[in-house]
């Protein structure tokens, strides 16, 4: 057990402590303030910040994995099957699921990122966008158009620190 510094063992009864405290606050007053005046100046957001979930509609094959894995049950998906022209001519038409509705209720979402991770087709991405608050909580249910708009605010994954293994291709 390391030895206690002498000053902590017993009560200091000289007022030097008060003076040292006053000196500290005085010196801080001379240094510039650290606050950021938010509406006028904005802080730089880190590329990995989990602000909002953006959807790339073309990748989505309506496999419903994200809706099932979401702990808060806040992803509502509706889709229908459809016939697609065959890839190679003469082949038989492919049946493909089309996405009708993909809503995320950000009033319920806890930003855990399970849906982004579990999506096998890389359709959901994190975007550091955070200024989308609404006066009415019901408006926090955003449809797939809005999620699509956020898609173009999704940054490139930042380069990794030295000594890190390269990620296996899948963009987190």
């Amino acid at each position: 057990m390391p030895e206690l510094p002498e000053s902590v063992g017993r009560t200091v009864n000289t007022p030097i402590g008060l003076v040292k405290g006053l000196k500290t606050t005085f010196m801080t007053m001379l240094r510039p303030a650290v606050t950021v005046q938010y509406p006028h100046e904005k802080e730089t957001i880190t590329p990995r910040a989990r602000g909002v979930i953006a959807l790339k509609e073309e990748n989505c094959t309506v496999c419903m994995l994200c809706a099932r894995q979401c702990p808060d049950w806040c992803i509502y998906i509706e889709g229908h099957k459809d016939k697609e022209p065959p890839r190679r001519e003469g082949g038989k038409p492919r049946t493909v699921s089309k996405l009708d509705r993909f809503d995320i209720d950000y009033g319920l979402c806890m930003y855990c990122g399970i849906c982004v991770e579990v999506c096998p087709f890389d359709a959901l991405h994190w975007s550091p966008e955070f200024e989308y608050s609404e006066p009415n909580i019901a408006d926090l249910l955003h449809a797939k158009q809005r999620l699509g708009q956020w898609e173009n605010t999704v940054p490139e994954a930042p380069a990794l620190e030295a000594g890190a293994e390269a990620p296996k291709g899948k963009k987190k």
Binding site: G21, L22, T25, A33, T35
Partner: protein
């Protein structure tokens, strides 16, 4: 030798009533601008920089109009009376507190003729009047039918009374040295005070240094500010006796608090830092030139801002005493020290006059 400064108020010859109204208006103006500058400079700006932040910046350039925004906010708020409150007493409490503050401004000299009424017992009157606020605080604490306010009120009563004594005893040293209770004569005394033979540096703060320290500590306690802010201990009693007040009444309490701070800082400046007097002003004494008044007020204002800085600097740095430690500190430490100071001043005066 500087004779007592007589003559009319600011050298204006007017009937009694117009003069009284003029004094009332100027007194109110001094109190409100004093409290306002204290709030803006210290509570908004200095505190923020002490805590490495900028403070209000939105209202007006660099937050200068924040004060008016605050006042408007309080005025348009609903004046809530708690259900079981004792309505009459609850309503009157803040005005008792503000009354005791504004009465102090009657005797504060801002210039050779700039004093509302040059009472002969100036300093005794000021200290007596400042202790009326205890009644207001008790009224507020008791009437708001809230356990926390009751505790805040009782703590305030105990503390304010306990710190009246050191406040008065600290001043006795100065009065003995100036030989009079009249504040103008105290200022004049400091002007003529010869310290080790040369006339310039005649502030009572230097010989009466102990008295000055005790005065500042006791003033901090009178204002119920940290380290003596048990009555408004925001981490226990939310806002002490002011918890239940909203709207205009809270604004009156708020102005009362900062007007008292300005008044006590002004008293401290007059008693210990030479009031409106500066070494250069001694040459042609007594002429009624307007410049003497304006310069006097500016000098007093600068000294008050200096004292205000010390008061608020201590307020936002130190933690808070528990109320029994606070009482022990007053009765066992401050009062004996003040008595010793009086003793020493007495001996020094006798030796000096012999």
């Amino acid at each position: 030798m500087i004779g007592p400064v007589a003559g009319t108020f600011l050298g204006i010859h007017a009937a009694y009533w117009n003069e009284a109204v003029l004094k009332l208006v100027l007194g109110f103006a001094l109190a409100l601008t004093g409290a306002g500058t204290f709030v803006y400079v210290y509570l908004f700006k200095m505190v923020s920089h002490l805590q490495s932040r900028l403070g209000p910046m939105e209202a007006g350039p660099h937050g200068s109009l924040q004060l008016f925004a605050e006042v408007l906010k309080f005025l348009q708020k609903e004046d809530v009376f708690p259900a079981k409150a004792d309505r009459l007493v609850f309503g009157a409490a803040p005005f008792v507190v503000i009354m005791s503050t504004l009465l102090i401004y009657v005797v504060i000299p801002v210039g050779p003729r700039g004093v509302a009424s040059n009472l002969d017992i100036g300093i005794l009157y000021a200290l007596a009047v400042s202790s009326i606020s205890v009644i207001g605080v008790l009224m507020a604490g008791w009437a708001s039918a809230n356990k926390y306010s009751l505790m805040g009120g009782l703590r305030a009563a105990g503390q304010l009374i306990a710190y009246e004594l050191p406040l008065v005893l600290a001043v006795v040293g100065v009065v003995m040295q100036a030989g009079s209770l009249n504040l103008q004569r105290i200022v004049a005394g400091q002007a003529n005070f010869k310290l080790f033979g040369f006339q310039g540096l005649g502030l009572y703060a230097i010989p009466q240094f102990v008295g000055f320290l005790i005065f500042l500590i006791a003033a901090q306690a009178e204002l119920t500010q940290t380290p003596f802010d048990m009555p408004i201990a925001e981490s226990e009693l939310v806002a002490g006796y002011m918890t239940e007040y909203t709207g205009l009444r809270f604004l009156v309490f708020f102005i009362g608090e900062f007007a008292t701070a300005f008044a006590l800082a002004a008293l401290g400046a007059v008693l210990f830092l030479g009031g409106w007097w500066l070494p250069g002003m001694g040459a042609h004494w007594g002429s009624a030139a307007w410049s003497r008044e304006v310069v006097g007020t500016a000098v007093l204002f600068a000294k008050v801002m200096l004292l205000g800085f010390v008061i608020f600097w201590v307020r936002f740095t130190l933690p808070r005493f528990r109320e029994d430690q606070l009482q022990k500190f007053a009765w066992k430490f401050l009062i004996p020290l003040a008595l010793a100071n009086i003793l020493v001043t007495g001996i020094a005066k006798v030796v000096a006059s012999a």
